[in-house]
């Protein structure tokens, strides 16, 4: 009983004040005009071609980021899970360490690395002879986003793979499964919950990244967060801005629902972070 009571301040003050009320404001701005309900702004968002391109950019960047994080993160997490626990703990700290630093600072650091005269450009120049312009391109935004979100993919995968009962693998091998078969028939299905939470933790925040695209995209990579900011802050048009924000929330809810469904169909085993 006592424990429940401890949560009262959160439920009765924090949540209504800082989560529910702001969401209601956003909903109100999006669907009311001069005090009357309207769908005008929703129509405006979908009938003009002014706002949707940024949404596609966001989805595209989030998808690529998630895919690359999964491709890089899975082997890393798997190798970690097979390591001696102490070593694995040490190595995973190395992966988490960049997260101890503020994201803006990390992005600034990337700006220097990706600069025309930066480390990466000089390495590529030495290898291929031409000096690429990396900064202010979609590639720059992608590289930094992938870097930023990789730990969020590795950690849930690592937790799931680590908790996996090794005897399953041994049994598969004993029964004559090849390495590939063991992976596709045993390890991969068992790690689905980790994959799901990894994807959710990367895809959702990646879609709404803001600072990275602004700092490294040089104004040429427009994501939905920037459009929302422009409408509300610059053009004093909270209606369309809020409509776009709600659209983003709906997209997030849809992607979470899909993930949940996949998770359930797989008969969730092992620990998820969500």
């Amino acid at each position: 009983m006592k424990r429940v009571r401890l949560s009262y301040p959160y439920i009765s003050v924090w949540m209504p004040l800082f989560i529910i009320a702001p969401m209601l404001f956003v909903l109100y701005y999006a669907t009311f005009k001069d005090g009357a309900f309207t769908l005008e702004y929703v129509k405006q968002v979908f009938t003009t071609t002014n706002y949707l391109p940024a949404l596609w950019t966001s989805i595209w960047i989030a998808l690529v980021t998630t895919a690359v994080c999964l491709i890089i993160g899975y082997p890393v997490a798997y190798i970690l899970s097979t390591m001696n626990k102490r070593v694995a703990a040490l190595v995973s700290i190395l992966f988490i360490m960049p997260m101890w630093m503020n994201m803006l600072l990390r992005t600034f650091a990337w700006k220097m690395v990706l600069d025309d005269t930066g480390v990466l450009a000089s390495v590529i120049n030495a290898l291929t002879g031409n000096s690429p312009k990396l900064l202010y391109t979609p590639a720059a935004v992608l590289i930094a986003t992938i870097y930023d979100f990789l730990p969020f993919m590795i950690l849930p995968l690592y937790t799931t793979l680590m908790k996996m009962d090794r005897s399953h693998i041994e049994a598969a091998r004993d029964l004559g499964a090849t390495g590939v078969q063991t992976f596709t028939k045993v390890i991969l299905p068992l790690s689905v919950p980790g994959i799901i939470s990894g994807i959710t933790m990367v895809f959702v925040p990646a879609m709404s990244t803001f600072a990275i695209s602004r700092m490294l995209g040089g104004g040429k990579v427009k994501m939905i967060g920037e459009v929302i900011e422009r409408k509300i802050m610059e053009q004093n048009d909270p209606a369309v801005g809020s409509t776009l924000a709600i659209l983003l929330i709906i997209l997030v809810i849809i992607s979470m629902a899909i993930m949940n469904k996949v998770d359930k169909e797989n008969g969730s085993a092992g620990g998820t972070l969500w």
């Binding site: 002014n50 706002y51 391109p53 005269t117 104004g219 053009q235 004093n236």
Partner: protein, 355 residues
């Protein structure tokens, strides 16, 4: 025991804080709303030494932010430095106090030319005193750009420099370049002219290296671009020999451009108008103004300043805008509801960039 001790310590710390809070609120403090790095901090010390008045500065990054704060009913500020069109809107809204020029004898140092131009946004010159001014123009790297190509806004549309052009990521400034190039007014509310300018920008977008604001200075100093749309003050900053790049140069295109003024104004609710006027008068003193100019690098409208400037500013083409160049320029006017035409064009440009 430990608990009691910590309570006492906390109480003592609080007690130490109280006088600090009170002194902040005392009658000898002037709340100023300013842009970042837009006032030499040494001058605050000097002013306090002379008058005992503390300047409490809060900084913002855009006129829109300033307007929001100044248009609020409980505006706590006594002095602010908004740009021309913001001043115009504030006057329309009755948010500015009339300045008593009897308290500002140093107003005589302000160049007559600018009193005339600023009547464009402050009709009777009753509410504002120019602080700095500048013009929109093109900064270019002399080692990358042919001398033959400079002179016109066409330089920003010259595909020869594809991938080396920086645009200014701000609606009216970017549109001003496109409008002037076609010979239209930067305050036009003709939808066809606005659309034509927007289309020109969209067509050129693939050739831009980036859309930037403040970082344009660093990017041009590093040589990331050959050409950039900038305000003269930012050009001065970038051309400075020690931390800037001496290869950079600046010109005001022949078709005309925007001239802006940042102006000292006093919000109507200020209870310390006299003190604010005292500070304005202090800042208009030629020696003080010159010291401030060497700090902020934006052109001063004070006629006493040029003679007191150091070698760099005295010779910098972006600092010393000629009379001819000024005559070609126009101020931005507050467009009222017609700003929607620009907002729509801007949304269209942004969507084209996102594609």
């Amino acid at each position: 025991m430990k608990k009691i001790l910590s309570v006492i310590l906390a109480a003592a710390m609080l007690a130490a804080l109280v006088p600090a809070l009170v002194s902040c609120d005392s009658s000898k403090t002037l709340n100023m709303l300013n842009w970042g790095e837009y006032l030499d901090p040494e001058l605050k010390t000097e002013f306090k030494k002379r008058t005992g008045i503390t300047i409490n500065e809060k900084t913002v990054t855009s006129n829109e932010e300033m307007l929001k704060l100044l248009e609020a009913n409980d505006c706590p500020y006594d002095l602010c430095i908004p740009s021309d069109y913001a001043v115009q809107r504030l006057i329309k809204g009755g948010k500015l106090a009339e300045i008593n020029y009897d308290n500002i004898p140093n107003i005589k140092h302000i160049d007559e030319r600018f009193i005339k131009i600023s009547a464009g946004f402050d009709p009777d010159n009753k509410h504002s005193v120019p602080y700095t001014w500048g013009v929109l123009g093109i900064m270019y790297n002399t080692t990358m750009v042919d001398e033959a190509d400079i002179g016109s806004w066409d330089l920003l549309w010259n595909e020869k420099y594809s991938g080396q052009i920086f645009m200014y990521d701000s609606i009216r400034d970017a549109m001003a370049a496109a409008l002037c190039r076609k010979g239209y007014s930067i305050n036009t509310v003709n939808a066809d002219e606005i659309n034509e300018a927007a289309n020109d920008i969209i067509a050129m977008n693939p050739h831009y290296r980036g859309w930037v604001t403040d970082q344009v200075k660093d990017d041009m100093i590093d040589g990331k671009g050959a050409i950039a749309l900038v305000y003269s003050g930012d050009a001065v900053w970038s051309m400075e020999p020690n931390e800037g790049n001496e290869d950079l140069a600046f010109f005001v295109p022949e078709e005309g451009s925007n001239i802006y003024f940042d102006n000292m104004v006093i919000p109507v609710n200020s209870k310390k108008k006299d003190m604010a006027e005292q500070f304005i008068n202090f800042l208009l003193d030629p020696e003080i103004a010159a010291q401030n100019t060497e700090f902020v690098y934006y052109t001063s409208p004070n006629t006493g300043v040029p003679a007191l400037l150091g070698e760099f500013l005295s010779n910098c083409s972006a600092y010393n805008i000629t009379d001819d160049e000024v005559k070609r320029c126009e101020i931005f006017k507050d467009l009222g509801d017609s700003i929607k035409l620009y907002n729509d064009a801007w949304d269209r440009i942004q969507a084209a960039i996102a594609k």
